[in-house]
């Protein structure tokens, strides 16, 4: 058990050092807040969302209109969760 702990510790140190080394070159590439790399999509939605969907809330127009398919998957996740809970706990509910 002692040797397994040593191996785990070495692996942890190696993994952590690799992760830190991989992040270090990115440190001076971080852009300031509010300056995204590709602002075209944001600008399009900010300027056109009200005209195209008629909704004041641009987030809702993204969630239900521009990215409606994503919301469909989200709703499916909830449906699956409910189905799983009812499937597993049904026998406790009736017995």
């Amino acid at each position: 058990m002692r040797s397994r702990d040593a191996v785990a510790l070495i692996a942890l140190v190696l993994l952590g050092s690799f992760m830190i080394m991989s992040v270090l070159p990115l440190a001076n590439m971080i852009r300031p807040f509010g300056e995204p790399v590709n602002p075209e999509m944001d600008d399009y939605i900010i300027t056109h969302a009200q005209n195209e969907t008629g909704a004041n809330n641009a987030v809702t127009s993204v969630v239900f209109d521009y990215r409606g398919f994503d919301t469909l998957g989200e709703a499916t996740v909830l449906f699956t969760a409910v189905a799983g809970v009812i499937l597993i706990l049904r026998r406790y509910a009736h017995g």
Binding site: E52, N56, L72, E74, I86, A93
Partner: protein, 157 residues
């Protein structure tokens, strides 16, 4: 199951309508203010969870059946998908109601405005469908978990 005190029951009975109204407001104004179907549905379902905690799962389960909740959730999901199919002539999830003369068809002026409830096209209807779905789904989860973990015969072993 231990009975909760009269104070808890009374306060949660008073709180429940307000929580429900607030959740329905968040759902209905999803296209105007922050929030929407998921958030408002979670608020309403938390109000129902308040009742479950206060009155016990048995008392709630006498009035609400899980099959009714499943039916409500299926209605919400089917409504959402069929609303997505309304604009299928252009593309899936096309907002075909925006900019027309019908209900929810108004296009607000660009920039900040007071907010018009009858705008947004299909978005308010989708919010309602998703809200129905989330209310029923989360309430079903809470109710089933509460019933399954109650003391009398509920715990396994």
């Amino acid at each position: 199951m231990d009975e909760t005190s009269k104070i808890i029951k009374t306060v949660s009975s008073v709180m429940f309508p307000f929580v429900t109204i607030y959740g329905l407001y968040v759902i209905l104004h999803g296209h105007l203010t922050p929030g929407g179907g998921f958030q408002g549905g979670a608020i309403v379902a938390s109000g129902c969870a308040l009742l479950v905690v206060a009155f016990g799962s048995d008392a709630i389960a006498k009035r609400v059946k899980e099959s009714q909740l499943s039916l409500l959730e299926s209605i919400g999901a089917l409504g959402f998908i069929s609303l997505a199919f309304v604009g299928i002539a252009t593309t899936f999830f096309y907002n075909s109601l925006a900019g027309t003369k019908f209900l929810f068809g108004k296009i607000p002026p660009y920039g900040s405005n007071p907010g018009y409830l009858s705008s947004g096209g299909l978005l308010p209807l989708m919010n309602l469908a998703v809200g129905t779905k989330v209310i029923a789904g989360l309430f079903a989860i809470v109710l089933i978990l509460a019933i399954a973990t109650r003391k009398k015969g509920g715990r396994s072993k």
